[in-house]
């Protein structure tokens, strides 16, 4: 049941990322919910347990994107492994404020790495396809990017909270009562 809830949660997040956020925030400020989902999963219980889910959510995002299938999953796995190595994060889970501060830093840092790496990956692909139109824009650190990071961190906290509840199997209670009966 936990897997099913997580599956539905991934699908809803993808739909929100692709179809909903664009109506409310400009593209330069759109948070990356799939990235924070992957990061939250790894921070919550480690890289190994959620490897399949990280690949799955990456694939879902690739469906709506113009880059090759598998690109997002690859980037997510690399970032997830990096976070997994930060054992310190798991050691400070008990100290709430410090933990959430670290989580915010990790979300922001992951976003920055993801954005740079995705431009790099696309340019590598274009180079091999002999496409001269390499993407020249850098990830600009401006007010828009600050807001994007802030929204991503905010979204990350919400997603982390939901994952904790889903994994503790006490959310959503109404749904569980209906299905268990």
């Amino acid at each position: 049941m936990r897997s099913f809830n997580l599956f539905i949660f991934c699908l809803v997040l993808i739909l929100i990322q692709l179809s909903v956020l664009g109506s409310f925030v400009s593209p330069a400020r759109t948070p990356n919910l799939i990235l924070v989902l992957a990061v939250s999963l790894v921070v919550y219980q480690g890289f190994e347990k959620y490897l399949g889910w990280i690949i799955f959510s990456g694939f879902l995002l690739d469906i709506g994107a113009s880059w090759p299938l598998g690109s997002t999953s690859l980037l997510l796995i690399l970032i997830a492994l990096g976070i997994d190595r930060l054992n310190a994060v798991s050691n400070i889970k008990s100290r709430h404020l410090l933990f959430y501060l670290s989580l915010a830093v990790i979300f922001a840092l992951s976003l920055f790495i993801f954005d740079w790496a995705s431009v790099g990956l696309l340019n590598i692909e274009r180079y091999f396809l002999k496409n001269n139109q390499l993407i020249s824009f850098p990830v600009e650190i401006n007010f828009d990017y600050f807001l994007k990071s802030a929204y991503t961190i905010l979204g990350g906290f919400v997603i982390y909270f939901i994952i904790r509840k889903l994994e503790a199997n006490d959310f959503p209670k109404i749904f569980q009562q209906k299905t268990s009966g």
């Binding site: 709506g64 994107a65 598998g70 690859l74 995705s118």
Partner: protein, 271 residues
């Protein structure tokens, strides 16, 4: 010396190799069966989510803009009066044009065969320059078809087609290039997307006279796009880096962030 890797490392290596293989073998566009299949399934959900979110966003915008409505209403009334006068003049010109075309035995201008489509999703890696629409190959859409709004304002082209969805690239997309013409002077150039959601017209000869506010349309050269689609109005004029050509920013009347419905031009005929 025994060299061994942990189970976790093996999983990681296996996943990386698998994903690199998937990336290498996965093709783009309609040839990609996985993307096409998943988009067919997801398309109705995307459309529903987009419509509801668009409605909610519109409601919040409305609440926030109540104070501006009175001023906007006055401006629109003034603009409407001007447009009524212009409409009357254009009707007269249209009649005259019909008579002249008849005299000169020219074929009447063909109307566009349009396919109305909803925007259902935004390409996450495109910074707002690419969208998914809810019509695809099954509705007769193919690559490079022009995409317009409001009966004749060019917004982009179809860049990828799946069975029930398509991806459109806006004219503001980096790499987008459209043959353009300035109506007043007849100056020809290339309208291309620049960084972000802006547009510019380049390669205008130094001998051509262009000024701010001139309208820029598609020239119809290359036969990919019909002639006469509005691209925008000339903004700031500048020289190209090598000083051989003039270039200018284009102010497009469309709010690309607020696009809900677009029209794909399936068939057209340049006069």
């Amino acid at each position: 010396m025994k060299f061994s890797l942990s189970k976790k490392t093996w999983k990681f290596i296996f996943a990386i190799i698998l994903l690199i293989i998937v990336i290498l073998v996965s093709s783009r566009g309609a040839d990609n069966p996985a993307k096409g299949f998943m988009l067919t399934i997801a398309s109705p959900f995307m459309k529903t989510f987009r419509i509801f979110s668009g409605g909610a966003a519109g409601f919040f915008d409305f609440l926030g803009s109540i104070g501006d409505l009175k001023r906007e209403n006055e401006e629109l009334t003034r603009e409407n009066q001007g447009l009524l006068a212009e409409n009357a003049r254009l009707k007269d010109t249209e009649k005259e044009n019909e008579i002249l075309r008849g005299e000169m035995k020219l074929a009447p201008r063909e109307k566009y065969d349009l396919e109305a489509s909803f925007i259902i999703a935004q390409d996450p890696g495109s910074r707002g320059n690419r969208f998914l629409i809810d019509k695809g190959k099954n509705s007769g859409i193919s690559e490079n078809m022009p995409v317009i709004v409001s009966g004749g304002i060019l917004v982009g082209k179809v860049s990828e087609v799946f069975s029930d969805t398509s991806r459109i690239s806006l004219i503001t997309d980096q790499g987008s290039a459209v043959n353009a013409e300035v109506i007043d002077s007849g100056a020809k150039g290339i309208a291309k997307g620049t960084f972000g959601l802006s547009l510019m017209v380049d390669m205008i000869s130094q001998t051509d006279v262009i000024k701010e506010g001139d309208e820029v349309i598609t020239s119809g050269l290359g036969k990919e796009l019909p002639r006469g689609l509005l691209i925008g109005k000339i903004g700031k004029i500048d020289q190209s880096q090598d000083k051989l050509f003039q270039q200018a920013t284009i102010l497009n009347p469309v709010d690309f962030l607020d696009l809900r419905v677009v029209f794909v031009v399936k068939k057209f005929g340049n006069p």
